[in-house]
Symmetry: D2
Subunit: 411 residues, 4 copies
């Protein structure tokens, strides 16, 4: 039996975090003794718990400690980080430290080094080639033989984002998802979050699925692009194709957007739309050639905004801009994360989870979908900062445009 003393600090009393920590210990077949519990007496106070956790052997203990760090639990005496050398490209050493999406520091040679670009389920690569050591996250696929990677849970500290619930700011919910919320208030809160991000000089990242087009929200989204509230869009082949199909033929998977008469599917329109863009060479080329003259993708191109389209196995075509290699696609997405200050995910489970996987926990995150399962899944996968809004995507974006675009008029 091996034991380590850990601590956790924060609004422990009212966040339910402690029960999750103890659940984790149980799940990993560990045991615990609560050594101290300094309770914040008043509602706004910080509490601190010191807990001795035990596991069968050192390997089990190290893994349990890594797990607890995803909750913001640190070792009282973290010691020095242990570093191993990778022996194979694309393979971490056994016992590698699996990273969290929290702000992380690593103790190397007695100094705490802040980890660049926090991301969950990565390795921590130590670069000591310069005067001062640096540490950054790296996904498994990108690691190379010879790289130095942190092993075990020693010498690591994480910091949980400060919850602003008590401060009247944007209150993150922890997986509280419901369609039974006053939706107009939620729209306003998202609008406020975007405004604050922009005022702070940050970028707003959108992640969207084809439902954005199917629900007739493309015009609202175009206005949001033009008003500067869409700096980057992550999507798949489907959103871009249906948007372009609608621009070229006035249909989206056969839904006649002007009349509101839906039909089953649109066979042939979408495949022809893709062929047209492939012929032009790229979405931008199609805009430049005057082939594509409207819609969300057109707005992004003409406004000089960024987009990353990553393919999936169900894609037709795909559009020439689509990354068909998903690992390449993930790299392209990571490259756009710098300076993102707000993220909104709309009508897509696949790309929402993909973005949640690479996003630091410090970035406010709202997930909007008519399907509660999408939002629940996101939170369950570790994006605990995610706020879920179960609502109609079309009406939500329409209302958001009313909030954010001064001269937005109802179509």
């Amino acid at each position: 039996m091996r034991t380590e003393t850990v601590e956790i600090t924060g609004h422990l009393m009212d966040s339910g975090i402690l029960s999750r920590v103890l659940d984790d210990i149980r799940e990993y077949d560990g045991d615990y003794v609560i050594d101290r519990f300094d309770v914040g007496h008043d509602a706004g106070d910080i509490s601190r718990a010191v807990i001795s956790v035990s596991a069968e052997d050192d390997e089990a203990l190290q893994r349990l400690l890594m797990r607890l760090q995803t909750r913001g639990v640190n070792q009282v005496d973290p010691g020095e980080a242990e570093v191993s050398v990778c022996e194979q490209d694309g393979v971490f050493p056994d016992g590698f430290y699996s990273s969290t999406n929290l702000e992380t520091e690593v103790r190397l040679n007695g100094s705490w080094v802040l980890v660049d670009n926090p991301e969950m389920d990565c390795g921590l690569v130590v670069d000591d080639s310069g005067a001062t050591a640096r540490v950054h996250t790296l996904p498994m696929a990108d690691v190379k033989a010879g790289m130095k990677v942190v092993s075990g849970a020693s010498g690591i500290k994480v910091r949980v984002p400060i919850s602003t619930r008590e401060e009247g700011g944007f209150g993150f919910m922890e997986s509280i998802v419901s369609s039974e919320k006053p939706q107009a208030v939620l729209v306003r809160q998202v609008a406020d979050g975007m405004r604050q991000a922009k005022e702070a000089g940050k970028k707003v990242l959108w992640v969207g699925g084809p439902g954005v087009v199917h629900t007739g929200a493309a015009p609202a989204m175009v206005e949001l692009v033009k008003a500067g509230y869409v700096d980057v869009l992550f999507a798949g082949n489907a959103l871009a194709t249906h948007d372009i199909e609608a621009a070229l033929y006035g249909t989206s998977l056969g839904v006649d957007l002007a009349m509101g008469q839906g039909v089953e599917h649109g066979h042939e329109h979408h495949i022809r739309a893709i062929n047209t863009i492939r012929k032009a060479g790229s979405i931008k080329a199609a805009v430049d050639q005057g082939v594509l003259t409207g819609g969300i993708m057109h707005a992004l191109v003409t406004q000089g905004k960024r987009f990353v389209l990553v393919g999936s196995v169900r894609d037709d075509g795909p559009l020439p801009d689509v990354h068909t290699d998903v690992i390449e696609g993930q790299r392209a997405m990571r490259a756009e994360l710098a300076d993102v200050g707000y993220c909104v995910m709309v009508a897509t489970m696949l790309h929402s989870v993909a973005t949640g996987n690479i996003l630091p926990a410090s970035i406010p995150l709202v997930c909007v979908d008519i399907n509660p399962a999408t939002v629940t899944k996101l939170a369950d996968r570790g994006s605990s900062q995610a706020r879920g809004i179960v609502t109609d995507v079309g009406l939500f974006l329409e209302q958001l445009a009313v909030e954010l675009v001064p001269d937005h008029r109802r179509r």
Copy 2:
């Protein structure tokens, strides 16, 4: 083997109705031969099919013929209606004709008599006490011994409402339900339907569940009441209680409507709200006494509008206005159907199905819910005229108020 010749007329080619008729025959273990099929050659033309249907014996055939009448299929030679006398209160004679919600005529003594108030799953009661015979629908629970009731399928003709799909009007969908529709267009169509009903001097019937209050849509609904677009409301104890709870305490099942912070449930507020109204004697009395000063129920009372609240087994209290006997409640609902020209069902499966059960097929019907199952269920129960809109109730009603109430301003 007994055989009867039936016919069906209408847009048979493009409505899929014929395949449903043949499915019915199969389901009832019957057989058929298509004797004639006069096809409407052009898109707008009417088609007519003449079909010989057979079943094992006369009882089976009569039941199959009744079933086919729900599709608008009539006997070519309907003959005279057969009338039986009820022997027990609340029990129809064996072989009674089970009614449809379509416009129906019964042939008695050589004359066709139009049936009053079409309603499905009822008996047709013949009143020949006056100079001319009259026929009206009557639910099973209300029949009395000695009443004359139509038996078998002879002597009966039904007429399907004219589909206006081709005429560019309000196109009813047959169970086509999707959240992937341009929602703004659907909002406008509902607004148009309500306006047309009002212009025609008809009443607008609302059927609502507590989600109307939970989603923060009560203020929008209050404005719609004041603007005259809510003539009658059918609901249960829950909608009224949560509305009154919100008016008295600013909460609805614990959802703080001003802040958008939801909590699990509200225990105690709602039971106290009910007690308060019971003390006053009725919702109207509570308004008159100045106890209840806001919300949907208050608006209905002050605007002189009608409401029927029918209880369910899960009710607390209930409010004094609630019909605790469901059969009494159904009678109270039926009493409000005269002159209804448009019906919208919002966020309730129970009361939507209940209303669908008693509504003639001639009344346009829209069902709005975030849960696709609610809408599907309604259509499956026989309300084939129902149009389903899968969307967020809160945002939908907000948008509807924007469409219908000239000076509606966003909260």
Copy 3:
């Protein structure tokens, strides 16, 4: 500002209960100071928190204290219960104590009196006519002028059921709902729970919806009735009607159970089945007369088991056994609760919530539905002991019969 000191004892560290208590205080606009927190050091230890809670005035404080009691939070110095006299039939005095479903004691004249039949959202009626005072819960509708009812939160103690999570027994989940669970294990746990209840001489209560019949599970359920695992059934008109319809005509809302070919709906079969039973006089009479010879209702009658059918506003007919007055129906349900030791709810939201409303928290409760929302709703309404299983009802009951009925053979 009024203040009271409360305490809570239990597995506070790992149940998340404390964060809910503090959420409640915030929701009621109260404030708190944590005076003491004695932490159970080891995993199985009991913790105890002493908290000073404040609210604006005495009324607000009393209501907050009542609210906290639903979480098992008691006043450190509860004092004597205050008793008020009802002035109107069916109306509690202002400030009445709204009961929880927990084991409750009331202090009267210096003695603690255990409350009979705990039920949430009721009043506590004091009967001091005998030698010793007695207290029992009473729903609002049943209170009479002159009755003595507890007011405010003083003089009341509640006790939360002992969680058996650590003891390896049947672990209740708190609203953890998922279709992604090893379903076979869950079936076995339900079977074990039923066996334990029967071995303890307790009754098994079933609450069922029509999905039991639609999914083809009626034969499995009949076997469970015969094997003695269904002592009482709570249901509506629909389950009984579709079961009887299937027994009489081999159909259930048009689903041909032998072939697995579903059709939309069954119009006419169900209304005729109801008429047949009404003619017989009751379900039992139909069995006695040889009219009804199979199905779930037949099995209940022939095995001498109990059932309570309560109507709803969407009912056709209804069957003669159905309570059409929902308040009468609730009374009939309450009358069957004595000695119930296990409750399983299958495929019904309406009757599940209704039963959850009247069931003491001490009775293990499992809710089985293919729709996650049903299970979530039940837990949100206060039945926090509910365990949810999201699965296919037909296959679940089939598997349950395999577990519980020795000679059960696959059809």
Copy 4:
């Protein structure tokens, strides 16, 4: 206005196909006159309709004709196919014929040539290098400059699979999806379908999502592999990872499969499982090295069965066997389709739609999911032969193993 005469033959009366054809014409802004309609008089008879369809110009007409062919509608006088030469790699000529998943013939030089491997949304590539011309489908991404591709709708005939509904065989439903079906009957029908495919010397193709593992169905699936009912598996990184994680650590995303106690997510186990397989080099290598000793993937390897894993943007790792390029992945999937005689899709929307995209309509297809939306989406995307079963995946596979594996015993 351009006009063409088309015909359709089959069970037009009872399949609803004609109404869909006319809907398509309306959707494409076309017009029609029904020239002839030869009705099959008896229930089993074949009907034939001859329709003149018109569209604004030739391009619109050609596209409408292509659309109608997805319904099985052919030109009465199809003429000769028109062939264009591709000018760019990966781009079809404007006006290319967009293929269906139906059996297709192309008329070249007066002869009808059967198209190899029908697949929807592809081009038809003509290879006239040999003695006799051959035509095969090719997805857009794989076309090369210089290839000859069919343009327009002339010279093409399709044939709809013979519905066996009347013949008592495996009845395909057209998008009829319901959880309210007798599930045991549906299990048996799937078992029968698999047995028939095996008896005919055909392969059974499975498409699976991680829910197979989460619901505890892996042991049942392993038995089905061993019994020879899984010839090929299409899946993503998730199914394989969770299966391997469960085999290595006894967990799957943190669900403890033995105890049935679910937790939120499993962080760290799955990423370590992936690293372990990457270190081994491949799943087969891990089996050969004795690293992986159980689970579905192990069974496939040891039984010499095929699997194709295709990645998605949300993947961690991924496993070394995963195709990270989705277009490569589609090619790998296509390569396994030869001799597939039955396809079952379980608990995955992404890979089900992907497989539906490439599967000929002639292969029986069953989609099993607890979420109705998955099944609906599949049918809406053009896999009209899909039969949907909304049920619990874990219990379904358990029951399927009971049906198909003689010595299968309940765990």
